[in-house]
């Protein structure tokens, strides 16, 4: 939440928005219990992910601290051999599930935020160009967007992931996996931003304040950035929030399919993939807890996005 808020704040250029607008949003927030609960859940999850190195009882990335004897310890019960107890149990390699979830969430959130940021930058820039310049620029950008929309986003992401993996040297693959993941999800998700920004830009472009700026000789790029961008950010903010949930799920899906985060740096999706191997052999906790965390994270971000969409839409007020 704190990262996201900071990103929003800088994008809206502080001080330019009337205080009344802020308090409208705050008022609406105070009267939306779902939004408040979602925000609390998101806040707790993000904070615990950020603070994972300090609050996690174990370091799941340090092979030296792992004890294979601790493998498959059920949650809350002492291990039969070592008598150690783990809140949410351990996986096959004796890694503490609670700690892997905290560290996994870090990766999931990092990939999610970065991918959305990438998609947002690409989408907003292309949407502004298409909407403001029109003509063949618009045709090219929007046709590419249309074509990309005919493929499922996850397929596009897998394609990009596959290509990127093919061209990175094997030695760096695990290291690069996270960045490739961000690139793949970001590139598969820019279309919505571009479409919405283009639509909003068309509306703003026809307004006379843009004509007034043209009249005094302001350059097109300056008009796009100084005049139009601040006026199209509300819908971008809403899509960014909902995209964040989708990006986290996309990352989990890719990792679940084994093409995402490597087992040495597991995200929530990787953890679920590891866990599903033990689902039918009785070690349910290895799957259940990462899955529940992913559910809580994606659901509350989504609900927050829904509320934001309603709160920022003047027609619903």
């Amino acid at each position: 939440m704190s990262d996201h808020q900071a990103e929003i704040e800088t994008r809206r250029t502080p001080g330019r928005l009337a205080r009344a607008w802020d308090s409208d949003l705050a008022y609406s927030f105070r009267h939306a219990p779902v939004a408040m609960v979602s925000a609390a859940v998101v806040l707790i999850l993000v904070l615990s992910a950020l603070l994972a190195p300090w609050i996690a009882p174990y370091d799941p990335f340090d092979p030296g601290s792992l004890n294979l004897m601790n493998g498959f310890t059920p949650p809350g019960q002492p291990n039969a051999f070592t008598q150690e107890t783990f809140v949410l149990g351990t996986d096959d390699q004796g890694r503490d599930v609670f700690s892997t979830i905290l560290f996994g969430m870090r990766i999931s959130l990092f990939v999610g935020f970065s991918a959305v940021l990438l998609a947002m930058v690409i989408g907003v820039v292309l949407g502004l160009l298409a909407g403001y310049l029109g003509g063949w620029v618009e045709s090219v950008i929007m046709r590419v967007a249309d074509i990309q929309l005919t493929f499922p986003a996850i397929l596009v992401a897998m394609l990009i992931f596959g290509i990127a993996k093919g061209i990175t040297p094997p030695a760096y693959r695990d290291q690069m996996a996270i960045w490739v993941l961000i690139l793949a999800i970001g590139l598969s998700d820019w279309v919505q931003f571009a479409r919405v920004v283009r639509g909003a830009t068309l509306v703003e472009k026809s307004r006379d304040y843009v004509q007034a700026a043209r009249l005094v000789g302001r350059r097109p790029f300056s008009i796009m950035i100084r005049h139009i961008l601040p006026n199209v950010l509300n819908p971008v903010l809403v899509i960014a929030t909902i995209s964040l949930a989708l990006a986290i799920i996309a990352e989990a899906t890719l990792s679940f399919l084994g093409v995402g985060a490597p087992p040495t740096k597991p995200s929530l999706g990787t953890l679920i993939r590891i866990g599903q191997g033990f689902m039918f052999s009785g070690e349910w906790w290895i799957l259940l807890f990462p899955a529940l965390t992913l559910l809580a994270l994606a659901l509350s971000i989504n609900l927050l996005g829904d509320w934001l969409r309603d709160a920022l839409n003047p027609r619903l007020r």
Partner: protein, 320 residues
């Protein structure tokens, strides 16, 4: 007195064709809309020239062409002796500084995310001029308070916003201001305040206005010279008093008859006959002939050319 704005045979066509693919499939020809048809006029320095006409008569398009927001399709547009259609780019940029515009809708012509200070100073700031204290000074000049500079547009009423627009238009010290229906979005009580402010500023600063309006009472109050547009063509042009005393073109006569008048409250008025024709398929000959009571065979086939009757220039075969 010299002509500050000169239009010669100005024409503007808009492409209103369907997208290329639809045209191919539906076998449609390219369609164009002639928004401005062969308009010639001159605006004297330090005067107010009013363009009147119904919606869709092309009056705003002429304003926007002069402002350089819409390119001309054909003809000559000269501002202060500089041809802005085909002239030298540096001189065009120079002459454009002398021109400003006030728009119709004061709710759309101010960026809602900008502070009033930045809005007013924009014309100067864009060109790298000194803007310290500029907005405050202009706000007081247009009858607002210097303290308003730190506010956002939504904190103002329509009339106040139009004053902000006027302040912005004055910021770069222009010679010419194109006023595109500046009062038609305002309450009648506020209209007169804004109009009086504009008149006062014109006298103080020696401005030239091109005043675009459909409101004859406003035009009568403001204008020195009036041009009447019908379907993109200038059908009649005369000094204000001439035009109001003796309108020559049947269209102008019809406009005057149709306008509401306070001094003849309750009078019976013949409603205007017919509607403005489709500009994509304009009628042949005189564009007004389908609605004109004087129309003859000649009007249906031959486009009338402008001719002078006294001080009035009129495009009609039958006017006398």
């Amino acid at each position: 007195m010299s002509a500050l704005i000169r239009l010669e045979h100005l024409t503007r066509d808009f492409d209103v064709s369907k997208p290329w693919l639809n045209r191919v499939i539906e076998r449609l020809p390219k369609a164009t809309l002639r928004a401005v048809a062969d308009v010639s006029l001159e605006v004297e320095e330090n005067s107010v020239y009013a363009l009147v006409g119904e919606s869709g008569s092309g009056k705003s398009t002429i304003g926007r062409i002069i402002a350089g927001l819409v390119p001309a399709s054909d003809g000559v547009v000269e501002i202060d002796g500089v041809d802005i259609v085909s002239g030298d780019a540096a001189r065009i940029a120079e002459v454009r500084r002398e021109l400003q515009m006030i728009f119709q809708d004061p709710y759309a012509s101010l960026n809602p995310r900008w502070k009033v200070r930045d809005i007013i100073a924009e014309p100067v700031a864009v060109r790298g001029g000194d803007v310290s204290g500029l907005a405050e000074r202009l706000l007081e000049q247009v009858g607002l308070s210097a303290a308003d500079a730190g506010k956002f547009p939504h904190e103002f009423s329509g009339g106040q916003r139009q004053r902000i627009c006027i302040a912005r238009a004055l910021a770069s010290n222009p010679k010419i201001i194109i006023c595109d229906e500046p009062t038609s979005a305002l309450d009648v009580s506020v209209q007169s305040q804004v109009l009086n402010l504009m008149s006062d500023l014109r006298e103080e600063m020696g401005l030239t206005y091109l005043f675009i309006s459909h409101d004859l009472t406003v035009v009568q109050h403001m204008a020195d010279r009036i041009g009447v547009l019908y379907l993109g063509a200038l059908v009649e042009e005369a000094p204000r008093d001439r035009l109001f005393a003796a309108p020559k073109h049947p269209y102008t006569q019809m406009l005057f008859d149709a306008a509401p008048r306070m001094d003849a409250f309750g009078r019976e008025v013949d409603p205007p006959k017919g509607e403005i024709p489709d500009a994509i398929n304009p009628p042949p000959g005189c564009p007004y002939h389908p609605r004109c009571p004087l129309a003859t065979e000649r009007c249906r086939s031959e486009v009338p050319q402008p001719r002078m009757i006294g001080e009035t220039r009129v495009r009609c075969h039958h006017a006398e």
